[in-house]
Amino acid sequence: MVEGAEQTPSEYIQHHLTSFTKPIGEGAFWTLNVDLLMVSILLGIVGCGFIWWVVRGATSGVPNKRQAAVELLFDFIDEQAKGIFHHGDRNRFVAPLALTVFVWVVLMNAMDFLPADLVGLATHHISEHGFRYVPTADVNTTFALSISVLVLTIVFAISVKGFGGWLHELFFAPFGSHPLLVPANFLFQMVEYVSKTLSHSLRLFGNMYAGEILFLLLWMWAAHSSLSGDHLVGWFSSVLLGLGWAIFHILIVLLQAYIFMMLTVVYISMAHEHH
């Protein structure tokens, strides 16, 4: 924080990238990033709660502006799902899943716009040593999402093709059913599953993490300007650049959430396809 006048730039960034963790068991794995959980649950409740509140009072007559806005969102999601998913009733699961993913990821991404040092003034009361408030700039969140989607694709693949059909595809597709090709098939399928999941989560994570770092660099410039006596040149330029980056980041926030949602629908749609 700013009070830490002795902080070097790398200490400043390190400080802001430190998570608020609580160990819950033995080993490095068994810790909880309390900050990520708090923020993401809060955002999920805000997002889902708002839509639920609007939907609960939804009329099939003339909608008010609030309902019309939510309906636009529904229509947008439904159009995407309709364009990709042709394997049954999308209203049963795929479209609501896409809505959840889109709304939640947009909100989590949008936390990037909050200025870190101002949020820090509040979060210091919760945790003195770091509080990260952009859940999607942490691999735990993005992997949680992409692994959940992976599990869903496997569940859908099995429910559509049966366990035997899924195993058959695992070993006899895509190269053919010759016994010698079984290892190649299996390897290919494994690579496909792993690469899908990795690219799905790391794309989102990389974009949001880079955005966060860039914001931190700009804010660090401003923080140090007030200390180093450069007549606030650094402060003004960081404000201008920060504004520019924030405006551009709006695009990234929405685009990454959109891509994440689309890939989710595409993967689940692919799981329904027979080879």
Binding site: T31, R56, S60, D75, L145
Partner: protein, 156 residues
């Protein structure tokens, strides 16, 4: 930034939010939107039906008007014909009546004429008798010469 149990917690949270959306949000909204779509479709269909029935009643009105118009023309023609007939009848009757009156007048005139001639004849006869009396200076015995007088009267 390590992979920690946070991942599991986040996945569980994600699952809960998905379940919430699937169960409580999406179906409500879809129901409202579909109900509205149905209302709009019904409204459009009703409007279409209304337009069709308007067309039909317009056509019917046109037909009725046409019928009324031809009926009126027919009546007019009949009336004109009837009027012409009446005029003709009246003319014929008048002509007959005129003829009859003329004939009666002629007959009366003829009667008057013959009566006048008779009177004239009588007067001429008496004049002749008077003349003859004067000539003969004596009375003519009307009874004695009645036959002669009758003869003269007839010759006049």
């Amino acid at each position: 930034m390590n992979i920690t149990a946070t991942l599991l917690a986040q996945a569980a949270v994600f699952a809960l939010f998905i379940a919430f959306t699937v169960k409580f949000i999406w179906p409500h909204m879809v129901r409202a939107i579909e109900a509205r779509q149905k209302t709009i479709a019904d409204g459009l269909a009703a409007a279409d039906q209304g337009r069709r029935s308007l067309e039909q009643s317009n056509r019917q009105a046109e037909e009725t008007l046409q019928q009324a118009r031809s009926r009126a023309a027919e009546l007019l023609a009949q009336a004109e014909k009837r009027a012409a007939e009446l005029v003709d009848e009246a003319r014929t009757a008048a002509r007959e009546e005129g003829g009859r009156e003329k004939a009666a007048a002629k007959a009366e005139i003829a009667q008057e004429m013959s009566r006048a001639r008779e009177q004239l004849r009588d007067q001429v006869a008496s004049l002749a008798v008077a003349g003859a009396e004067k000539i003969l200076r004596r009375e003519v015995d009307a009874r004695a010469h009645a036959e002669l007088l009758e003869q003269i009267k007839r010759q006049l």
